[in-house]
Amino acid sequence: MDLSPIQKDLASKCYSAVADTCDDLMLKLASRGIRYQDEWPFAIHLLGHVFANDLNSARFLWKSIPLEIKESRPEIAAVWKIGQCLWTRDYAGVYDAIRGFDWSAEITAMVVAFSENYTKKMFQMLNSAYSTISVTDVAHFLGMSEDRAIDYALQHGWKLDSSCKMVIVKKPKTVTERKLDPSKLQRLTEYVFHLEH
């Protein structure tokens, strides 16, 4: 079975494309009536969906994996645990699921990339949702010890109010592009023409 497109994506670290590549290849193999399930990299396929934050496709894939394969390959269940925690919004559980398993060599890099991505996303979420938040909660959401969490927050410009153990959030200034280019004029002319006729 030729799994080279998936290997290519993994090697070039295009983790967000892994899910689509896996889907297309799986449908192609299925259409030829080949029994691909035994050698198929379900763990990577599942993690691809989780990485792209497509939890619905991850759920459907999990449901379609045969029971024997789920039982004989614990790595797949471990990836699914991450997906489950994301689905039930168990924010800290995701970190436990990532750290609680000894990942095989081919999937480790992807798991590490996902973990970094997830921490960044969590931080952005805290940024947009809170004006003040307790240190315990920051540590909880970022999956770090309280001291590390404080350092991380201070690095990003937040302030610490040590009397009540709260951190004051500083929202980053978002730079939005507002350039106007000539093609817009062309489009505006088209609209006016269309509306007049």
């Binding site: 799986m26 449908l27 259409s31 030829r32 009536g33 949702a129 004006s131 938040i133 489009r187």
Partner: protein
């Protein structure tokens, strides 16, 4: 058997010029009965023909072979030959005999479902649709079969490539109903509730003379998805058929009750309503959606608070939304912020939540691109409607009818004529038409053009 051998030799001797192909086509049509009588012995002949060059001949043989029931041992071989055929066939030759191609594909789909391997059929069916369609705007009979296979195999994402095409031509209304219903289900599975609502809306408001089961099931899901998305069920638009208007609600009473209970906003009452009708929801396979409706009630209760308050304590939110604790309220608000359903900031120090306005100013590059894209789409739609209008205006049936009507009106009254027809247009839509052309139109500047087109169809049909 000799006739089949002669036929095969004829097919193989063909070069690709179009006269020879049409000659072969007529010869094949005449030999259909002969082929069917030898259906079980056609397999060796199939291997002698190359499907990419002699597509038409291969198609006729394959169709004749599949018209008889296929034994279990031969099924997998049959499936593989169909897959190979679809992958390598020539598009022009298929379009000479589309009914045969559709028939082969339908039998393929039935076999794949019987064998319990719907995933095997997905990639070939997608290819078959692309080869059969004259443009991506055409709805073929195979669309709904493809979506059904995606649903059974749980490959919902695969259905999106076909679902995201805008459809402007519909050949058979039944295809449209199934396509919209399955499309709605796929979108629900992927939690694209707005798209699901569009699909189900099209299924419910399509022209129909009598109510059909697909529209009833679609309406049930329509109610549930409307509640999840908007917290209320909109009333039927004017262009709904009278069959739907009169009868839909009586067939979907438990769902209507659920909607009424939802409108009162009390989660305990809603839960009681779900309990009473649980079996009905279960037998309709809608229980999962109903549970989502339940959890959406908390969401909508919190959303309603943003319209009244600028800041509110977590304890108060918990009380109003009937949640158990301020911590739970905080988690819910956090989830809603994450999903973009609310704009707020939580202040844990004081235990307060401040609600904000939507920060979108519609000034960024990304947003202008999005607006441009939508305007382009509307312009294309508008042009299509105008060309449809012109086409109808030149139609002799329409012209003869309007000629008769004209005598009753003076030249000065010309402008009021379209209005007279407008009421009849509503009547026409409600009576439904067996081969109505279904359009998905946003309710904007285009509604007047739509009415003009519809009026003209009305005069033609009278």
């Amino acid at each position: 058997m000799e006739s089949v051998e002669v036929l095969v030799a004829h097919i193989q001797g063909l070069f690709r010029s179009s006269d020879e192909v049409s000659q072969l086509h007529s010869l094949l049509k005449q030999s259909e009965d002969a082929l069917r009588s030898h259906a079980d012995r056609l397999v060796p002949f199939l291997s002698q023909i190359d499907p990419s060059i002699h597509t038409l001949g291969y198609l006729f043989l394959l169709e004749a072979y599949s018209s008889e029931s296929i034994s279990r041992e031969e099924t997998s071989g049959f499936l593989l030959s169909v897959v190979e055929f679809i992958n390598s066939c020539s598009t022009e030759q298929i379009r000479l005999a589309p009914e045969k191609f559709i028939s082969v594909c339908k039998i393929f789909k039935d076999q794949v479902m019987q064998l319990g391997v719907p995933m095997q059929g997905i990639a070939p069916m997608r290819m078959a649709i692309r080869k059969l369609q004259t443009s991506t705007e055409q709805l073929t009979t195979l669309h709904s079969d493809y979506l059904l296979l995606c649903l059974l195999a749980k490959c919902y994402k695969a259905g999106l490539s076909i679902l995201d095409d805008d459809i402007f031509e519909v050949d058979h209304l039944r295809d449209h109903f199934l396509y919209c219903y399955y499309g709605g289900m796929i979108n629900i599975g992927l939690k694209r509730f707005e798209k699901a609502l569009e699909c189900l809306h099209n299924a419910v408001t399509a022209p129909m003379t009598t109510l059909n089961a697909i529209a009833v099931e679609a309406y049930k899901k329509y109610i549930l998805v409307s509640l999840i998305l908007n917290g209320q069920v909109p009333s039927f638009p004017k262009y709904t058929s009278s069959a739907a208007l009169r009868n839909l609600k009586s067939y979907t009473q438990p769902y209507v009750d659920l909607a009424n209970s939802y409108a009162r906003g009390k989660s305990s009452e809603l839960e009681a309503c779900v309990q009473t009708n649980q079996e009905k929801f279960q037998s309709d396979s809608n229980l999962g959606l109903v549970k989502q409706v339940l959890s959406s009630l908390y969401k909508h209760n919190i959303q309603r608070l943003t319209q009244t308050y600028l800041t509110l304590s977590l304890q108060d939110i918990a009380n109003v939304a009937q949640l158990n604790s301020p911590k739970e309220a905080e988690m819910r608000v956090l989830q809603m912020i994450q999903d973009g359903e609310i704009f707020a900031t939580i202040n844990q120090k004081d235990g307060m939540v401040s609600f904000h306005e939507d920060p979108e100013q519609y000034k960024t590059c990304g947003m202008t691109e999005h607006i441009d894209f939508s305007i382009q789409r509307l312009m294309v739609l508008s042009k299509k409607l105008s060309s449809l209008d012109e086409h109808l205006s030149c139609d002799p049936t329409y012209l003869s009818k309007i000629g008769k009507e004209r005598q009753r009106f003076d030249f000065d009254e010309f402008d009021s004529v379209p209005h007279k027809f407008m009421q009849r247009a509503y009547l026409f839509i409600r009576k439904g038409s067996p081969n109505g052309v279904v359009r998905h139109c946003p309710q904007t500047i285009l509604s007047s053009s739509i009415m003009i087109v519809l009026e003209k169809r009305v005069t033609m049909r009278r």
